[in-house]
Amino acid sequence: MKGRILLSARNEILERLKAAPKKEIPVRPFMPPLKEVALGRDELADRFAEMFTAETGIVYRAKNNDHALETLTGIVKREGLKSVMVSTDEVLAPLNLPAWGIKIDVKVMSPGDFKGRDDFKDAVFDGVGAGITGVDFAVAESGTLGLIHDRDQARLISLAPILHIAIVPVERIVPVYESVVASVFEKEPFPSQFVFITGPSMTGDIRGHLFKGMHGPRRVIVILVG
């Protein structure tokens, strides 16, 4: 019975749409490409950093992974962080953050340490001072991070803590969104969620007064590696 009602609403709507008068499909006008398309590796990194900073993001440059870890240590000390939640993505894996945490006496947690969703949520909402993630892409066009959410990249790590630190290998910077999406949606199964993150969360809902740090992070820090 339920199935029948469902089907009939669907068919009724679609049939009505199909019976309507047809209209022509217009020709798409020519659009010149964005200038980022022509940028080389170093220019892309500069452009990304420029755009990311424009959204109050903070960028550190690191020559290699060791240098990146040193930078990270500096950040963690300055911020006085006691515990962090980290992803297990392929950018972070070679950094071996759990070992780094023991060395500098910071509690490093990742989703695999928890029995399930609820325990993980308790920790990521209330138990950590920052979320650390790698990125799948970074887009020079607007200083945007691109994250594929999967078992190694939980959604809440880049969202719930007040500070988000992202490790961005320079070779993952692409010129425009199209470069990202072509590869994310190249073949099925598609990721359950893909996000573009551009700066901290923000709002202007009270009298148009803009400020960062509404529900998501108040600050986003990027360590550009390479």
């Binding site: 609403a9 669907r10 009724e12 709507i13 009505r16 749409l17 199909k18 309507a20 008068p21 209209k23 022509e24 499909i25 217009p26 798409r28 006008p29 659009m31 010149p32 490409p33 964005l34 200038k35 959204e55 989703p111 928890f114 399930g116 993980f120 909402f125 209330d126 066009e141 959410h149 999967d150 078992r151 809440l156 969202l159 719930a160 199209e178 099925e188 199964p189 598609f190 359950s192 969620q193 893909f194 996000v195 573009f196 993150i197 551009t198 700066g199 901290p200 969360s201 923000m202 709002t203 202007g204 809902d205 009270i206 009298r207 148009g208 400020f211 740090g213 509404m214 529900h215 998501g216």
Partner: protein, 481 residues
């Protein structure tokens, strides 16, 4: 939500008074408009980009039934469930039923216009399930029980003192403050608990991509990402015109939507879901339900002209530039949508008879049309509605519930069109009307008039008619030259 589209004039008057009392209120649309200009300037050819947006939306509407079928097929292949609702009630009742079945104590909501349109919050409350709006502006107006003042900044008009008192009473704020940042922080702390414990999330969406079965949300605050990450069940509600052919099209619309809305190159967060979470993922919904709402749109779609109103991508550029919206604010429009986009959409959704003043409260200046990234010709649509409304006997007018004008008005315009089309009638008419018109004139200005036209003079005057027409004068002076 109460519909008060029939009290337009009264509410517009109140809006003007309020704006006079607080001039800063009028600055918001200007500010957003300037940001928009700067945002569009970052594109190599803004005009071409806008035209391309219009072409994409036009194509999406032309191929609507096919795209919807393709989207549904791919969304199901991704693991999502798809529910079709003919009406607002069907959609709301389905969501309430689902929330009950899942044992949800409350529902966390991401900002969405469609859930306002279908009256979801009221329906949830009636069934004892508390809806919590996650967007700061929506959260404020939900507790104040106000309609949205602006489609993207619903509480932009609310005074900080009001928000302070509200948060002290209802959002566990500890110390009174009028600082927007601290008020925002108080809301963050209060809503954080709701996001944390949420088991059932409801969002709208900006785009549904046929090619991949993906749904896309743009936002700045993070409320939508939370509603799609924390709960076990995610319901995303869309009206059926949200579908776009390809991911590439969606990226272009994303660029335009962000820029036209707030001048940003891209909103802080863009999230794209293709099905529920996969095995081994610790957060994200275990089930993703997409509700496709018709609510009158397949009927609107029958009319190829009126259909154009469905191109809208809800960027609010037309509100910010509209000289009428800038004066009266959002409440006068009487329902969920406001400004020019509301003036072209609500008459179709609610009926031409119930929105008489909405499509007449327009000077046809065309500012809205000039900024629209979807290529909607608002002034033409409003003229079209006016024509349908006065000729209530044609089938298209029946579809949208047109209502005939009073017989005196109809008769006047009949006589008018007869006269202006005939040279001799016009001339003799002028000489007959001139003394009547000029009777009340003072120093060349008519300030009031008795009878049928008195209303026009309530807030306007009119120059007195010249003693002679141009042709009469020309006859006299032509020999001098």
């Amino acid at each position: 939500m109460r519909v008060s589209t029939e009290q337009f004039t009264e509410l517009a008057g109140q809006g003007v008074e309020k704006a006079r009392a607080r001039p800063s209120l009028k600055m918001v649309p200007h500010f957003l408009y300037q940001k928009r200009e700067a945002g569009l300037a970052t594109l190599p050819d803004a005009a071409a980009a806008q035209a391309c947006g219009a072409a994409i939306r036009s194509e999406a509407l032309s191929r609507l039934p096919d795209l919807l079928e393709e989207f549904e097929k791919n969304a199901i292949a991704n693991g999502a469930k798809v529910f079709w609702a003919r009406t607002a009630e069907e959609a709301s009742e389905y969501i309430v039923k689902l929330a009950k079945e899942r044992g949800a104590k409350y529902v966390i909501k991401g900002k969405s216009m469609v859930t306002e349109e279908i009256g979801l919050n009221g329906c949830l409350s009636e069934h004892g399930i508390e809806p919590w709006e996650g967007d700061l502006g929506e959260f404020i107006i939900q507790m104040l029980r106000c309609p949205p003042f602006h489609i993207i900044a619903p509480a932009i008009n609310i005074a900080v003192e009001t928000i302070r008192d509200l948060f002290m009473a209802r959002a566990d704020m500890k110390e009174p403050t009028v600082d927007p940042v601290e008020l925002g922080w108080a809301a963050r702390l209060f809503l954080r608990e709701k996001f944390h414990r949420a088991e059932f999330g409801v969002t709208g969406l900006n785009m549904a991509v046929a090619e991949t079965g993906t749904i896309i949300n743009l936002e700045n605050e993070g409320n939508i990402r939370f509603a799609k990450s924390s709960p076990r069940t995610q319901v995303s509600v869309m009206t059926l015109e949200k579908v776009l052919p390809t991911m590439k099209d969606a990226l272009h619309v994303m660029r335009l939507l962000s820029r036209n809305c707030s001048g940003q190159k891209i909103s802080a967060y863009v999230s794209m879901d293709s099905g529920p979470k996969k095995d081994g993922e610790i957060d994200g919904p275990e089930e993703l339900v997409i509700v496709i709402v018709d609510n009158g749109r397949s009927r609107i779609y029958q009319d190829p002209r009126a259909r154009e109103a469905l191109r809208c991508i809800r960027c609010a550029a037309c509100l910010n530039i509209c000289p009428v919206y800038r004066q009266i604010g959002g409440y006068a429009y009487g329902w969920v949508y406001s400004g020019p986009m509301g003036q072209v959409l609500m008459p179709l959704l609610l009926g031409l008879d119930k929105t008489q003043e909405l499509y007449r409260a327009c000077t046809l200046c065309g500012a809205c049309k000039s900024v629209c990234p979807a290529g909607i010709d608002h002034p033409s649509l409003m003229l079209y509605y006016r024509s349908l409304d006065v000729s209530a006997d044609i089938p298209a007018a029946h579809r949208f519930g047109g209502k005939k004008r009073p017989w005196k008005e109809a008769l006047f315009f009949k006589a008018w069109s007869t006269a202006v089309e005939r040279f001799w009638m016009w001339n003799s008419g002028i000489s007959m009307v001139r003394p009547l018109m000029n009777r009340g004139s003072h120093r060349g200005v008519i300030r009031r008039m008795k009878g049928a036209f008195s209303g026009w003079f309530r807030k306007r005057d009119f120059p007195a008619m010249a003693k002679e027409t141009f042709h009469e004068r020309w006859e006299k002076i032509r020999n001098i030259w």
